[in-house]
C-alpha cells in the first residue's frame, strides 16, 4: 500500500494517508462491480463527488462547534459507507479508525485528518468541479 506520512506538531502520532483516489479506479470499480455503462458510471462518479462535498461541508460546520467530536463521528461513519461503495477499502478503514477514535475519546488531529482527506480525494473533487463547469 502506498502511504504518505503527514506529521503535525500538535499530534503525537503521524496520520497515515492511503494512496489518493483516482477517477480511473472509480470508473473501473463501477463498471466491473456493478456492470454499469458509461453514462451510469458518470452518474456514480458525480454522486460520489457530491457525497464527498457534503461530508466536507458537514465536517467544516462541525469543526466550528464546541462538540465537534460528537458531531464528526457520524460524518466519518457516513464516509466509511461511502468509501466502501466507492470500492476504496483502505480509505473506508481510515474513516472507520477516525470514527472509533472520536467515539472512544482518543486524541485526534481533526484538521490534519480533513487535510489528508482533501488531498487524497483531490482528483475526484476536481473532476466533478470541471464537469460542473462543462455543463454550465
Amino acid at each position: 500500500m502506498n502511504t504518505m506520512i503527514h506529521r503535525r506538531e500538535n499530534h503525537p502520532e503521524p496520520i497515515l494517508s492511503p494512496a489518493p483516489v483516482t477517477v480511473q479506479n472509480l470508473q473501473r470499480h463501477f463498471r466491473e462491480v456493478y456492470g454499469f455503462n458509461i453514462s451510469q458510471t458518470e452518474v456514480m462518479l458525480q454522486s460520489s463527488a457530491k457525497s464527498l462535498e457534503q461530508a466536507f461541508g458537514d465536517a467544516a460546520a462541525a469543526l466550528e462547534q464546541a462538540n465537534a467530536r460528537q458531531l464528526l463521528a457520524p460524518v466519518f461513519h457516513g464516509l466509511k459507507g461511502l468509501f466502501l461503495n466507492m470500492g476504496e477499502k483502505v480509505w473506508a478503514a481510515f474513516a472507520r479508525d477516525v470514527e472509533e477514535k472520536l467515539k472512544g475519546d482518543v486524541p485526534v488531529d481533526l484538521k490534519g485528518i480533513i487535510t489528508v482527506l482533501r488531498v487524497g480525494l483531490t482528483e475526484v473533487l476536481d473532476y466533478y468541479r470541471d464537469k460542473g463547469k462543462e455543463n454550465t
Partner: protein, 132 residues
C-alpha cells in the same frame, strides 16, 4: 415492483435507484421522517410500496425508528405477515445489536452491510418473490 429508497447519501441513493429501477418505479427519501410521509401517502393512495430499503444512520429520524413506525402503521391497518411491506436494511453498521433490533423488533426481511452487493440485493428481492 414499487420501491422506496431511504438513504441520506448521494452515491448510495444513486446505486440503489439505478439497480432497482430496472425492476419498477423507485422513489427516494433522505431520512426516516420523509420516508414515513411517503409511506403514508402511498397507503392513502392505496398504492403501497412493495419494498423499502432503509439506511440506519440518517439525520432527523434514523432507519430503525422509521421501520418501527412503519410496522405500527401497518398494525393499525391490519397489515401483518405476508401483507406487511418487505424491508431490507442497507447500512454500514454491522454490530449485532442493530442487526437483532432490525430483525426482531422491525421484522425486516434482510440486513445487508455496505458495500452494496448487487447480487446479494437482487437475490434477496427474488427470494422475497418481488421479482422473478
Amino acid at each position: 415492483m414499487k420501491t422506496l429508497i431511504v438513504e441520506d447519501d448521494f452515491l448510495a441513493r444513486a446505486l440503489l435507484s439505478t439497480l432497482l429501477s430496472e425492476y419498477g418505479i423507485c422513489h427516494v427519501a433522505v431520512n426516516g421522517r420523509e420516508a414515513l410521509d411517503a409511506i403514508e401517502r402511498a397507503f392513502a393512495d392505496e398504492d403501497p410500496y412493495d419494498l423499502i430499503c432503509f439506511d440506519i444512520m440518517m439525520p432527523v429520524m434514523n432507519g430503525q425508528e422509521a421501520l418501527l413506525e412503519l410496522r405500527k402503521m401497518e398494525m393499525e391497518k391490519g397489515l401483518t405477515g405476508q401483507d406487511a411491506t418487505k424491508v431490507i436494511m442497507i447500512t454500514a453498521i454491522d454490530d449485532s445489536k442493530n442487526v437483532m433490533t432490525a430483525f426482531r423488533q422491525g421484522q425486516c426481511e434482510a440486513y445487508l452491510t455496505k458495500p452494496l452487493d448487487r447480487h446479494k440485493l437482487i437475490g434477496h428481492i427474488k427470494s422475497l418473490g418481488l421479482i422473478t
